[in-house]
Amino acid sequence: MRGVSVIGVGETQFGELWDKSFRDLGIEAGLKAIQDAKIAAENVDALYVGNMSAGKFIDQEHVAALVADYAGLADQHLPTVRVEGGGACGAIAIHQAAMSIASGVYDIVVVGGAEKMTDVGDVEAMQILSSTTDQEWESVFGATFAGLHAMMARRHMFEHGTTREQLAAVAVKNHRHGAMNPSAQFQKEITADMVLQAPRVAEPLGLFDCAPLSDGAAALVLCAKEKARKFTDTPIDLVGTGHASDFIAVHDRRDLTTIDATVIAGKRALHAARKTPHDVKVAEVHDNFTISEIMAIEDLRFVPKGKGGFATEDGETALNARISVNTSGGLKARGYPVGATGVAQAVEIVRQLRGEAGKRQVSGAELGLTHTLGGTGGTAVVHLYARGD
């Protein structure tokens, strides 16, 4: 199979973008990526769009063709695909697009991810988000997204001695990183006290333990590796991919403190790339809640099981420490427009590997990882990127 490279990236501002619609966001990110790749519309063979729930958020389905249309590509008659997989849809879209290139069907594919979440009220947004859990066995009985993660956090505290202060350390670090990212929703540092004193959402998780509701979009241009150098001097190769699913309901899982889908997806991606967790110097992981980042860095084997909180508290995951985790600010500070997330993570890693991450640049980054979850861990996708040789 052919290798796949990223030759262009683009993203919108993330946040409560009251004056921008879904289509505005999708087009802005897509055009930025196309400009970055210095390609023309005629070069694009297909469009893949990761989107979780435009049908519920803005009453619009058929969004892939819509974005192509409003981006001025209707006359190209592109094949367009919308990919859904809860919070992982953007990352799955990258996987699907990459396979279409690897198989030799397409040479250049644009992958977008977008979500417009603020056109509905807070309560409705939460209901829509919880539709990625098991509706019949979880939501119906009153389990909210935050509540399910609170259960995981409590169990993690019980089994591994993780503390609320360690959870808070994740939010503090990610806000510190977000303060260096001009596209982030929150570009403001916070203190551990602010996290600990914030109103409780679901004990032990408070307001600052949760990623926000956001609008935003991100896009990549993927290209067959053998042709990438025609368009850019700094291609970034997608060197490994792992995509795994698991029991969708938390209560069916083997262990409350491990996301098995992450473990498997991580192993698959590292195996494909012939790398070990220790080779990864920069990672964007799915911190929809602070506990999620702690479990992710354990399940990806960056730290031993149970040590995620301690490692974070000790600063091992801060910018330019042992492994730089969520340099973009993560879902917590950069924002969490669900469908955009997997693609936005890739945008950050590509910038890091190109050396274009500005104040938050990880020095000597050669291999970067993205980790994206769907639901509470019913899906996990891990991608590994490396500087093109």
């Binding site: 409560e16 009251w18 004056d19 603020t118 009220g121 807070d122 109103p199």
Partner: protein, 351 residues
């Protein structure tokens, strides 16, 4: 322009409920909620009070200060509110009769969320400037509604203010007035619905702040002024946080905003909010002092006023009746059960 305020009168009911007592019913940390909103208590209308009785109180307070005004010279009364007791049948006619301004006058009820009262000031200004009549009365009053348990319940309160507008003798001239209006659905209540709906965080940045700041900047431009030209600044005050943030963003300081910021002690009186704040300022203002006032109504729009207090203020009997400060400080705290009774949330009988 040479029209302005001839007299003014405010009214706030005596009853108060604290956020802590509201939160206790709903399993919410009400004290933290109150702190977040910068509201220590909200006023509650008594069981026999409504927008009509409160408007009459405010109107009478305005006339009490200026015994020289013959109510028969008031050629128009407009009452702005989003809680008029009748859907069909005006509040304004009852106010007109109560202050003996009827029958030779025009009257109507206004609705523009929290800024219907300031819209009435602008209308009466125009009509007195065109000499259609000598005085007009603009009233803003509300017994605002909030669904039990909703975030609004911690702020939605009751209050009223009445302004007699005319050209002579003015106690404060309205040098400039501007408005900024768009179709922005941040807060609404349909016919027949008991409680309003709101757009959560959408009520902040794209609604309140966009309109208040745009209107304020327009007013600075029109008046050729800067924040330090003013002794007082007052804004619509849905909570104690928004007006302070907007004011600071515009360049005003706490000292300029403190007098008119009654929301901390009485909650959000909706159509009354900026107007009772203005009353509190006029209670202590001296001739020559300048006031910057920008209201806000959901839906959405802002009315801005650049006001200069004139020598006429010394002739007004400001000691007649109670000052706003006295009304704000004259309190009787009630618990949620009494609140529920007063606000008719307890169903007494079938049918």
């Amino acid at each position: 322009m040479s029209a302005g305020i001839v007299s003014y009168g405010g009214y706030v009911p005596r009853y108060r409920i604290a956020p802590k007592d509201i939160g206790a019913v709903w399993g919410v940390d009400g004290e933290a909620m109150g702190k977040g909103l910068n509201i220590r208590a909200k006023s509650v209308p008594g069981p026999d009070e409504d927008v009509i009785t409160m408007s009459v109180e405010a109107a009478r307070n305005a006339l009490r200060k200026a015994p020289g005004i013959d109510p028969k010279d008031i050629g128009a009364i407009y009452v702005g509110s989003e809680s008029h007791p009748y859907a069909v049948k005006p509040t304004a006619t009852i106010v007109a009769e109560a202050i003996e301004a009827a029958p030779i006058l025009t009257a109507a009820d206004y609705e523009f969320a929290c800024k219907a009262g300031t819209a009435a000031i602008q209308t009466t200004m125009g009509l007195t400037l065109s000499d259609m009549y000598r005085y007009g009365m603009a009233v803003g009053a509300d017994t605002s509604q909030s669904a039990p348990g909703d975030a609004l319940e911690y702020s939605a309160s009751a209050g009223a203010a009445a302004f007699v507008i005319g050209k002579d003798p003015m106690i404060a001239s309205i040098n400039h007035t501007v408005s900024y209006t768009t179709d922005t659905p941040d807060f609404w209540r349909r016919e027949g619905q008991a409680y309003p709906s709101h757009g959560g965080r959408f009520t902040g940045e794209p609604a309140y702040f966009k309109h208040v700041l745009s209107c304020a900047n327009l007013l600075f431009k029109r008046a050729g002024t800067r924040p330090d030209d003013y002794d007082f600044a007052v804004f619509h005050q849905p909570n104690g946080k928004f007006p302070v943030r907007a004011g600071k963003q515009l360049g005003f300081n706490d000292k300029q905003m403190d007098t008119g910021l009654l929301v901390r002690e009485i909650g959000n009186t909706y159509s009354g909010a900026i107007m009772v704040g203005l009353c509190a300022i006029l209670d202590i203002a001296k001739a020559g002092q300048r006031i910057f006032a920008v209201g806000y109504g959901s839906g959405a729009g802002s009315d801005g006023f650049d006001i200069t207090v004139t020598d006429g203020i010394d002739a007004l009997d400001r000691k007649a009746g109670r000052t706003m400060r006295q009304m704000v400080e004259d309190v009787k705290f009630i618990d949620y059960a009494i609140y529920a009774k007063f606000r008719k949330k307890i169903r007494m009988r079938e049918g």
